[in-house]
Amino acid sequence: MLRIAQGRVYDPANGIDGEVRDVCLDGGRVVEELPSHAPRIDARGMVVMPGGVDIHSHIAGPAVNAARKLSPEEHRADVLDRTATTRSGTGGTVPSSFTTGYRYALLGYTTVVEAATPPLAARHTLAELRDTPIVDAAFLVLMGNNLSLFELIRDGGPVTEAVAWLLDAAGGYGVKLVNPGGVEMWKHGNRNVTSLDDQVEGLGVTPRRVLEAVATSVDELGLPHPVHVHCNNLGVAGNWRTTLDTLDALEGRRAHLAHVQFHAYGGTPGKRPRSSAPELVEHLAAHPEHSADVGQVMFGPATTMTVDAPVSALLREVTGGKWVNADLEAETGCGIVPFTYRERNYVHALQWAIGLELFLLSRDPWRVVLSTDHPNGGSFLSYPRLIRLLMDREFRNEQIGRVNKKAIRRTVLGDDLEREYTLGEIAIITRAGPARLLGLADKGHLGVGADADVTIYSEHEDREQMFATPRFVIKGGRVIVEEGELREAPAGDLLRVAVDHDEAIERTLAPLFEEHYSVQLANYPVREPWLLEPARRVPAGGGR
């Protein structure tokens, strides 16, 4: 039992915008009322929000781990000691698993979505998530370059059943498409697709068909989270047209676009990009079935880590430094390049500015939510600074003055966009919005019955400082963080979707599986309780 008394509560999902009131927690849930003797936190003068929800991050699995191995120099400079309550670890842009959990919690985040797991590697991701304490975590299952699905799509087979089966086999939460068709082409002699209608050679599908088929299946299954799309042509000048084509192709179907900043570039391929953020914002405003996270770039060190392996090969040529490529049979690829975003660099400054444009021009904060595509655009540790950029116009303009001027001229940021996000809007883009887009009914709000995940901030004029060091973080009703110190570090839950499939799908998949995989079909689904528990199943509804 815990009463958070008399804080200023921001609970946008329940229409509460800075009202001073009590929030009562009991049994891991928000409750209506508590007896007066219940323990309390005196939150007078403090800001109370639901725990943060990260809709798109890379925190666990083989790609993340390859990135860890790649950068010992980052770890050496950033270490965490073992304490009575915590395991030791290392940080940098790709922290060790325990550190990831602690640092998210210290930032007031209590739910994180790992955005890219190949089902074949689900055991690895699950094992890492088990070692990522405190936060409840879900992962999205990669299906955009899956050879078995390609064959079913081409032949009009039972795609929906296969999608359901894959989700269940992996223990995943939602469906992710990354450069559909393009990663497969990368494995055909380093090629790629450049439009939705390019043929994926030898497979009889196009990116468009993959997008349409999988998005339709996700809708049919009524998954809590729509298809999560990393569009084709990431990072290429002029790619906003591909992004728009993708959204047009998905019109009428629900879809979430990942890190849309990386897909909002005008100009001509091969030439200097400019911003096309306004055009994409227009589309999103007109299409309530579509949403996006921004994928903000923040200056400083990052690690680009993507399933989109052809993009990674381009970045390798930019940096001339370390590069990892990892092809995973029948399902996906992976590319990793450590990267630093610099204020003076035209492209980097443009990327930074486009992200801010997307935030500032967006008319519906519920559908354009915060991410840095951690660690691609920057570490999740930079969220507080990003929040300050959104809330503090003076600070923002000062920062705009520091970066590459030519880049700013290619955006509307130089027009002194006046918007300043309110605390209510920040609560939307960092918790209520992502939770709603994810279909997590118990997350991102403080209504009765919600998970007792609460973050309490001390008011501070410097919003970066305020959001970097919550006064209290409560997870499942337990006070985890107090004054920047971890008090305890319990395990979080795995959030997975509960979706039925027809058992007959295994007979359809068996020959495809035999052809494409080097493991046995019977061993592919994860059934090990120690990898899957403790889990909460979020039911798929709707569709069927």
């Binding site: 860890r68 770890h75 670890g89 290392t90 990892v324 092809d327 995973l328 049979e329 061993n523 120690w530």
Partner: protein, 418 residues
Amino acid sequence: MAERAATCAGCGCGCDDIDVAVAAGALERASGTCVLGDAWLAERTGDAPPVARVDGREVDFADAVEASAAILGDARLPLVCGLGQTDCESQRAAVALAEAVGGVIDPTGPEVDGAAGAASQAIGVSTASFGELRDRAELVVTWLADPVTSNPRLLPRLRLDRAGRAAERTLVVIDARRTATADEADEFIELPPQLELQALWAMRALVRDVPLDRDLAARLPLDALERLAGRLRTCNYAALIYDAGLTTAYVNALGLLALVRDLARVAHVVALPLRHEGNARGAEDVLAWQTGYPAAVSFARGHPRARPGEFTAAELLARGETDAALIVGFDALRLLPPRAADHLRRIPTIVIDPRDTETGAGARVAFATAAAGVHRDGTAHRMDGVPVALRAPLPSDRVGDGDVLAAIEARVTRGEEP
């Protein structure tokens, strides 16, 4: 008699298509295994030593745990090593214990990815899973590696053996002598190991059209390398297979990975490191996700620090810098270099192993456990990184490696409290 599915962890192939026939709780026969798999099973299904021994005498499990905790608690720099033949779950427990006792942990098998792992931290790596090599690689080159001997089922599984290989696919073997793998190849290129560096740099030059000094390269089989470089450049998908255990010199490992990187700019080229132990890859992966580093990690100062060479088990032991050792699933006395083994004989050791080994027999404390993949479910990472489920086709009333490690950790951690 019952047929049970199993995954073999006898080498880094992680074959998950094994059937084990069990009668009266004992292994009757296994099908699908290779000679290494049969040996792996046999070593784990023979007569087992007592569950727990201290100084060679059978003791209660709890007493052995107590003795282990005492040894580790007294040690100023205990070493945790081995790890390549147990499951990821036990490796996880081993890292936790190493941290709790402020020790050094380093996956130490007969063949660990020491040099190549360190080299990949300098330049990265391009790699792929088995299925990609099987279905896409038109040209496969084994570089001073003999998978037919070290990983007998690998070539058939990749359809690269002579019998299974499609006509349009090519296998080239580069090695010091005609190996069993060379017998399966389309072409064998003889390369004395002392010329490996020269050959790697020559290959890189040929691939990138960098002028080559023909006099300096005079001892190399240059015509054959030139033909090979040309083929690698023009294929759609090629793979290099090397032996992580034999690639022990850092510069050579760097050259090999650099060759792959250079090639990857003109063609789709990946490298696959052969791993001899069933879960050597998993040990690095678990260590990396828990600490940020794949090997040679010290927790002495309360947080992870890594330095190959300094905290590499064999070298730490050879310098006599550790005062106790806990060895998981590794016959260290038999397999470590003599100087390292000598030091191991001088310090108190704890051995956790399902097998009866020389190292276990000489240990201060020895636990004989239920074997991962034979008596215990678990997870292993194949040499290509793909996680596979280990099954338990046989029953056992013993606990697994991870249970022992967790019991010791619980005892040590309890001791920490005031």
